[in-house]
């Protein structure tokens, strides 16, 4: 573990040194956002926390409420690239993976791997509300909407770095009265772990 922490500090120091140089000639995304590095540093710890959550909560509806969108769970499945250290740990991870897939399946209306080619999360009522809202929009709103879309994407990147799937879910297609809807859903742009966002109004 200490070797991994050393590696983390080394990468962070290098990154800060590069980032502080002007003009900016480095790259995006920030190297610290590399998910495989996060795996090395804290992957086993996060898997332990996930095991605790999935062991302590029986109802899948509650799991869905905690994680909010299936893409979050899908992202966390990167953690299973970590090699278990013994067979007991391996079987625990298989159990965890099965539960996570069940939760993803619940949130995706029974199609966890989107084999039908559609990531459907919203029910008919939510689609009705969405369509009702969209109908009040006119062509004059389009430029503003496009800017809002870019603002949301940017804020999502600020919040989660390269792990953008933790704050957004793209879902659909939905069909409603002959229309087809594809939803770009930014659902958690004020995570409580960033102090600077405490003053935000939303």
């Amino acid at each position: 573990m200490s070797e991994q922490v050393d590696k983390f500090i080394e990468v962070m120091a290098l990154n800060l040194e590069v980032r502080s140089r002007l003009p900016a000639t480095d790259v995006w995304p920030n190297p610290l956002a590399d998910i495989t590095l996060a795996n090395d540093i804290s992957g086993n710890h996060i898997l332990g926390l996930l095991e605790e959550i999935f062991e302590s909560i029986d109802k899948i509806e509650q799991i869905a409420k905690i994680f909010k969108r299936p893409a979050r769970l899908v992202y966390l499945m990167y953690l299973f690239t970590l090699k278990p250290s013994n067979t007991e740990m391996a079987s625990r991870r298989v159990r965890l993976a099965e539960k996570m897939i069940s939760a993803i399946s619940f949130m995706r209306n029974g199609d966890p791997f989107i084999e039908k080619g559609q990531n459907r999360i919203y029910n008919d009522n939510a689609i009705f509300d969405l369509v009702h809202f969209e109908r009040n929009l006119t062509i004059d709103h389009l430029t503003t909407l496009r800017k809002i879309l870019v603002a949301l994407a940017t804020l999502n990147e600020y919040s989660y770095f390269a792990w953008v799937g933790l704050g957004r879910e793209f879902h659909g297609l939905y069909e409603y009265n002959g229309m087809k809807l594809f939803v770009r859903d930014y659902y958690d742009l004020n995570p409580d772990f960033w102090d600077y966002k405490k003053g935000f109004a939303y």
Partner: protein, 105 residues
Amino acid sequence: MELIGMGASPGIIEGKVFIVDNLQQDAAEMEYGQILVMRFSTPAYFEFFIKASAIITETGGITCHAASLARDLNIPCVVSVDQILAKVKDNDIVTVDGNNGVIYV
């Protein structure tokens, strides 16, 4: 002068260049409708993006950050234009052809 890159968001537009090459530049200095020129983009450049009428980058491909945001904004974008920062300066008039990936200076 013609500079060749990769068209990453369609459309053709003419405008004045505004170069961003460090994170401390103030977006208030940029006018709405200028052509944003940068080495690459990061989310820190949001305020520049929403003022731009087109985006040109020196690096990146058609799925890069700048390209994706340009498509969301529905403005032309040409990426991977070699040495663009050395070949244009602020307020140069350029035409960005996002369909064919060409910049006319």
